[in-house]
C-alpha cells in the first residue's frame, strides 16, 4: 500500500519527513501518535499538553481502584521514548500558541484535546452548595489541579448521583468503599482525608429511563454489587417482566440486565446474605425519575433534596424516550452529583466546532473545511466509550493522515520546521515546555512519596509544585 512512498523515500532525503503535531496527551493523542510513528518510517510527531503532566483521563479520569486500566501508560511511555516523538507539557494551545501557528509549523495538526467540561442540568437550584458535577468530583479525588479545592460537602447521609453510566458507578463506589481499600490506591491524600470524615451512607443512582437503558457496563456493576461493607437496594418491581423481554437481545445487554434482575429478585446466597446483613452502607438504582429542581434548605444556600418528575417510557431499547407522567417525587439528600456527560469546548475561534453536538465537524477524522487539520478521540466522536473505543478511533484518524500523506493531499514539498518554530514562539511568550524526561522526574517523586504511604503514587496536585520540582 505504501510502496510508492517507499520509492520516494529511497530517492530523497529527510526533507520528506512529515512534521505532525498532536494537541492533547490522553489516550487519543498517544494512540494517534503511536499509529503514525509505527506506520510511517520518517514522520516526526510532537505531542502538546496544557498540563505539565501527560496522559489525560488515564491519570485524571480512571478510578483510583482500577489500576489495571492504567497499564496503557506503559505503551504510551514507549511511544514517548521514540526518537521521532517529543512531548511538550505546560503548553496551552489556543493561548500560548494558536492553532494557525501550529499549522504553519507542521504539515498536519491533530486535535485530541478531549472534553474538559460537562453537560449542565439546566434546572433551578443547580448552583446550590452540595451540588457538583461528577466530572469535578472525579477530578478532585484524582488530583486534577483545577478541582483540588472543590471541598465537596460530605456531611449528609444520602447522596444522589444523576446518571447511570460508569462514571456514576465510579463516584458511588469511591463514596462508599471501605477506607482500607481506598488508602492503598493513588487517590489523593486530601480527598482520602475528606472521605474518611464523610457521613455519606447511602447513594442513589437516578436515571430518567429504565433498567434496559442503563449506560454502565457489567464489570463495573458486578464490582458494585460485591463492594465490601455495602448492600444493594434494588426494587424487584422495577424488573417485573424483564426476563421475557431480554430473551432475544444481544448478549452484552442481556447479561447486564440478567445480573440486575438476579440481584433484585433472587434471594441472596448464604455468604451474600451475611455480608449484606452486616453492611453499614447501601446503594441503589432509581429508574424513570427526571430531575426538576434542587430544593434549598432553610438557609437558601444549601441543597436539602431533589424534586423529580416520574416518567414513562415511549419506545424501547436504546432509543426509548422518557416522557413525564405528571407525577412528581422528592428525595431528601445533601449531596448531588450530576453525571450526565462530559462536554468538549471550542479550543480556538479558528477551528470549526459544532456546539450542539459538542464535537469538531469531521469526516473520518479530517476536520471539515480545514485541510491539514484532523481530530481524534472524544472531541471527534463525543464523550463516550472506553479506552479501546478511543484507540480504534485514533488509529482511524491516523490512517486518514497517512492516506493524505501518501496521496499528496498533505504536501511534503512544503518543508515545515516543526517544534523549531514553536520553540521560538513559546520563548518569546515566556512559556517553558515540560519535556517527557521532566515528567519522569515528577513521576519518580510521586512514586517515592507514595511508597512512604503504601500507595502506588502520591499525586502532586499543584502545577507550581510540579514546575518547581523540575526547576522551571
Amino acid at each position: 500500500m505504501f510502496s510508492s512512498f517507499r520509492f520516494n523515500w529511497l530517492l530523497s532525503t529527510a526533507a520528506l519527513a512529515p512534521q505532525i503535531c498532536v494537541v492533547g496527551s490522553g489516550p487519543a493523542g498517544f494512540y494517534t501518535a503511536q499509529h503514525l510513528l509505527k506506520h510511517h518510517r520518517l514522520a516526526r510527531v510532537d505531542i502538546y499538553e496544557k498540563l505539565p503532566v501527560p496522559f489525560g483521563l488515564v491519570r485524571f479520569g480512571v478510578a483510583p481502584d482500577h489500576p489495571e486500566v492504567k497499564n496503557v501508560i506503559n505503551t504510551f511511555t514507549q511511544t514517548a521514548h521514540s526518537d521521532r516523538c517529543a512531548y511538550y507539557g505546560n503548553v496551552t494551545i489556543g493561548k500560548d500558541v494558536m492553532v494557525k501557528e501550529l499549522q504553519r509549523a507542521y504539515h498536519a495538526v491533530v486535535l485530541s484535546y478531549g472534553a474538559e467540561d460537562n453537560r449542565i442540568l439546566g434546572i433551578p437550584g443547580e448552583n446550590l452548595s452540595g451540588v457538583y458535577s461528577a466530572r469535578a468530583f472525579v477530578g478532585w479525588y484524582n488530583g486534577l489541579p483545577e478541582n483540588r479545592d472543590l471541598k465537596p460537602d460530605l456531611s449528609s447521609e444520602t447522596a444522589v448521583v444523576l446518571g447511570q453510566g460508569n462514571v456514576a458507578l465510579d463516584v458511588a463506589r469511591v463514596l462508599l468503599s471501605p477506607l482500607d481499600i481506598l488508602r492503598k490506591t493513588d487517590i489523593t491524600e486530601g480527598s482520602l482525608a475528606a472521605i474518611a470524615c464523610s457521613k455519606v451512607k447511602r447513594v442513589w443512582l437516578v436515571g430518567r429511563r429504565g433498567p434496559l437503558q442503563v449506560a454502565f457496563t457489567i464489570k463495573e456493576l458486578r464490582e458494585m454489587i460485591n463492594l465490601p461493607g455495602t448492600r444493594p437496594l434494588l426494587d424487584p418491581a422495577d424488573f417485573t417482566g424483564l426476563g421475557d423481554v431480554i430473551k432475544d437481545i444481544p448478549r452484552p445487554r442481556k447479561r447486564l440486565t440478567e445480573l440486575m434482575i438476579k440481584s433484585a429478585r433472587e434471594k441472596p446466597g448464604e455468604k451474600e446474605a451475611a455480608l449484606w446483613a452486616s453492611a453499614t452502607k447501601e446503594w441503589g438504582l432509581k429508574f424513570q425519575r427526571s430531575p426538576l429542581e434542587v430544593l434549598p434548605a432553610t438557609d437558601g444556600k444549601q441543597a436539602r433534596g431533589i424534586r423529580m418528575a416520574v416518567t414513562r417510557l415511549e419506545g424501547s431499547g436504546e432509543s426509548a424516550r422518557a416522557v413525564p407522567t405528571g407525577e412528581v417525587e422528592e428525595l431528601e439528600c445533601g449531596l448531588i452529583l450530576s453525571s450526565i456527560g462530559y462536554r468538549s469546548l471550542p479550543l480556538d475561534s479558528s477551528i470549526p466546532f459544532d456546539p450542539k453536538l459538542g464535537i469538531i465537524p469531521n469526516s473520518l477524522g479530517r476536520v471539515q473545511g480545514a485541510p491539514g487539520l484532523y481530530c481524534s478521540g472524544w472531541v471527534k466522536r463525543g464523550p463516550t466509550g472506553v479506552i479501546i473505543t478511543t484507540m480504534n478511533d485514533s488509529f482511524d484518524t491516523a490512517q486518514s493522515v497517512l492516506e493524505d500523506l501518501q496521496t499528496g493531499v498533505l504536501n511534503l514539498s512544503n518543508s515545515k520546521e516543526g517544534f523549531k518554530s514553536v520553540r521560538s514562539i513559546l520563548h518569546s511568550r515566556g512559556v517553558h515546555p515540560v519535556t517527557f524526561s521532566d515528567w519522569e522526574k515528577i513521576d519518580a517523586a510521586e512514586v517515592a512519596r507514595g511508597k512512604l504511604a503504601g500507595k502506588p503514587r502520591e499525586k502532586i496536585v499543584d502545577p507550581q509544585e510540579m514546575l518547581q520540582l523540575i526547576s522551571h
Binding site: E68, N71, V72, T217, R251, I388
Partner: protein, 143 residues
C-alpha cells in the same frame, strides 16, 4: 520485518530438530489486513504473551497487559478449536461483551493458553468497526 521474523523462526525450528519440540507450538494470527503472522509459542503461554514475546505487529493488542480490563486482545477461533478451549469465566465474558465484532467463537487472547494439541492453530484478529467504514471510503477514491 517479516523476512527477519521468518528467518528467526527458521533458526528456532532448526534448533528444535535436535531438541525436544514437545513444548513448541506453531500459531498463526491472521492480521486485520489479511496478512498471516506465524509464531512459535511455548506450551502454557497465553496468546497475548505470544504476540508480545514474538513482537507480532498487531496494532493496539493487549492494552491492559492481560489484566481483564479491556478487550483489545480479542481473537476469533475456528469452531472446532473454540469448542475445545477451557471454559470461559464470567470475568472474561464481562470484558468480551464489550469487544468489537464479537462472534460466537470469540475469546480474549490473554485468557487462552497454548496447548500442544493447538499446534498449527489459526486465529483471526477481528477487524474493528471503524476499519470497515474506512475500507469503504478508500474504495471510492481513485488510487
Amino acid at each position: 520485518l517479516n523476512l527477519i521474523l521468518s528467518m528467526a523462526q527458521l533458526a528456532l525450528t532448526s534448533c528444535n530438530l535436535f531438541d525436544s519440540s514437545a513444548d513448541r507450538v506453531t500459531v498463526h494470527f491472521i492480521n486485520r489486513d489479511g496478512e498471516r503472522l506465524t509464531a512459535t509459542a511455548k506450551e502454557g503461554e497465553s496468546l497475548l504473551e505470544v504476540v508480545v514475546n514474538q513482537n507480532l505487529s498487531i496494532d493496539g493488542f493487549g492494552a491492559c497487559e492481560g489484566t481483564l480490563a479491556c478487550s483489545t486482545c480479542h481473537l476469533i477461533f475456528e469452531e472446532d478449536v473454540f469448542q475445545k478451549l477451557d471454559a470461559i469465566t464470567d470475568e472474561e465474558l464481562d470484558m468480551l461483551d464489550l469487544a468489537y465484532g464479537l462472534t460466537d467463537t470469540s475469546r480474549l487472547g490473554c485468557q487462552v493458553c497454548v496447548k500442544k494439541a493447538m499446534d498449527g492453530l489459526t486465529v483471526q484478529v477481528p477487524a474493528e468497526v471503524a476499519d470497515m467504514r474506512r475500507e469503504l471510503e478508500v474504495g471510492k477514491q481513485s488510487k
